[in-house]
């Protein structure tokens, strides 16, 4: 166990020395990896923010249930009880008087409302389902529409469906991009490690002849690939955070122009660690492939 730990420590130190020994080359490699990882990472963060925006956007998650104009107090209460019995939704009652008051307060509507002989608005319920997937919203809409004295159920399902489809498409595009970039990163590490194997062929040949196992020879290259990938991932995360810092104020201003407030959330600690880990795994994979192919020449 001690020998195993000693060898792993030595391999890691050797890998770190190689990284430090050629700082300019290392910096360029880290930049290449970091910038490459920035693209899918930035895409992920933007999609995540859009998903959050979609969830918090007014109306997207809501279903408006309008009662028939002639519905009695008892009939309205019956519908309210039915809604309260559903554990998966939150309900708010908007009386016809309250709705009229809201309408009056809207800009330019006061005169129009004043000219009406009577209140034409119905009692209504605003329903917020916990599960806001388009399929569930459609199901609830059909359920509410079938209840007695419900005149109309309004759901902006087309908007929700379009937004959901857009997010799904974005996710798929992001996965494809991430796959391609992952393969590119494996190729970058493959090339770097192959050059290192060639440069150290004398040492590898000697080590084999005096009793080094394949694992002993491979280990420093694996550590090198993983360390380079992990550091590249961290650099990529730093670039994403920087980009978010730059984008955040204009996005906030844009949201304010539309009467809303929206703050871009940069990647958190867990996401940064995940990006670094992905870089490490891809680097290790590239090193694995490269060393396996290169060491065949020594057999």
């Amino acid at each position: 166990m001690n020998a195993w730990l000693t060898q792993h420590r030595a391999a890691m130190v050797a890998a770190l020395r190689r990284l430090v020994a050629a700082p300019f080359n290392t910096l360029l490699s880290l930049l290449a990896i970091g910038i490459t990882l920035t693209l899918p990472a930035l895409g992920y963060v933007v999609l995540d923010n859009l998903r959050e925006l979609g969830n918090s956007a007014s109306g997207v998650q809501q279903i408006s249930v309008f009662m028939a104009n002639g519905a009695s107090r008892n009939e309205v209460e019956a519908i309210e009880k039915r809604l309260q019995a559903l554990s998966t939704v939150r309900t708010r009652f908007v009386s016809r008087d309250e709705a009229l008051k809201h309408l009056q307060q809207s800009e330019g509507m006061a005169d129009l409302v004043a000219s009406l002989p009577s209140n034409p608005l119905p009692d209504a319920f605003i329903v917020e389902p916990a599960d806001s997937t388009p399929a569930n919203l459609e199901k609830l809409k059909a359920q509410f529409a079938a209840w007695p004295k419900v005149a109309h159920v309004q759901l902006d399902s087309a908007w929700v469906a379009r937004f959901d489809a857009f997010l799904r498409l974005g996710k798929l595009a992001l996965l494809t991009l991430a796959g391609l970039i992952g393969a590119g990163l494996v190729a970058v590490t493959f090339g770097t490690i192959r050059l290192q194997v060639v440069a150290q062929s004398a040492e590898i040949e000697l080590a084999r002849m005096i009793g080094a196992t394949d694992a002993f020879i491979r280990r420093p290259f694996y550590y090198f690939g993983a360390l380079q990938g992990a550091l590249g991932g961290l650099l990529g995360a730093a670039l994403v955070v920087g980009a978010m810092q730059l984008l955040s104020p204009p996005v906030g201003e844009l949201a304010a122009l539309y009467g809303g407030s929206f703050v871009l959330h940069p990647p958190g600690g867990l996401e940064i660690a995940a990006l670094s880990a992905i870089g490490a795994v891809l680097g290790w994979l590239g090193a694995q492939l490269s060393v396996s192919l290169s060491l065949r020449n020594f057999d």
């Binding site: 040949e205 080590a207 002849m209 009793g211």
Partner: protein, 216 residues
């Protein structure tokens, strides 16, 4: 103890470097392998050190049949040999001490203990004062002594050398062969390929003479 029975090595392409070689080297013995250039000395040395694998016959070292070993077992067997190469195979981008440390790193010895043993090996061959130097700064004789220090640092049971005096002057060559003789005197089995006739006569009859891959 090294026991070879009808040992042969044929390379891809058909060239037979060693053929039908049978011999016994007792533990603690010093044996010289001699013969003209291309006689098969290097191949025989590499076979004994398990760097090359026999294509026929058998080779048993310390009770272990090297011909029947799995490839994955070879590195562990090689650690029992101390190998001095004809071209030394020194790592010129590392210090003298780091060159000697390599076999100890391979077996996973803790750094402090490895350094102590590497310095002891360098002291034995008279290079301790040069431990921080790069091999390129050493003379030919010193480089060969460094290669010996690296070969013995792991306390091998068998010390194998392929023409260690090939490129040295008379005096340095004698120094090097004396170092091998010193290891032989403390019980290490020593097998050295050499052209040095004075040493061949001194070691007789413990000499394996090769001619076109065959023992004569």
């Amino acid at each position: 103890m090294i026991v070879a029975s009808h040992l042969g090595k044929r390379y891809p392409g058909g060239y037979e470097a060693v053929s039908d070689a049978s011999f016994v080297i007792d533990a603690g013995q010093m044996v010289l392998v001699t013969g003209h250039s291309g006689a098969g000395k290097t191949t025989l040395i590499k076979l004994i050190a398990s760097i090359e694998r026999p294509t026929s016959g058998s080779l048993v070292v310390n009770g272990q049949n090297l011909s029947a070993l799995r490839r994955s077992a070879l590195p562990y067997v090689r650690r029992h040999f101390g190998m001095v190469f004809q071209d030394q195979k020194l790592l010129f981008d590392r210090s003298v001490l780091d060159n000697v440390l390599l076999p100890l790193q391979i077996v996973g010895l803790p750094h402090r203990e490895a350094t102590r043993r590497a310095q002891a090996a360098l002291d034995k061959v008279g290079l301790l004062a040069r431990e921080k130097a790069r091999p390129i700064a050493l003379s030919g004789g010193e480089q060969q002594r460094l290669a010996i220090a690296r070969a013995v640092v792991n306390r091998p049971t068998v010390l194998v050398a392929d023409e260690p005096t090939a490129n040295l002057d008379r005096e340095s060559a004698t120094d090097i062969l004396e170092i091998f003789a010193d290891f032989h005197r403390v019980g290490v089995t020593v097998v050295v390929a050499t052209h040095d006739q004075a040493w061949v006569e001194r070691c007789a009859p413990h000499v394996l003479r090769l001619d076109h891959g065959r023992l004569v």
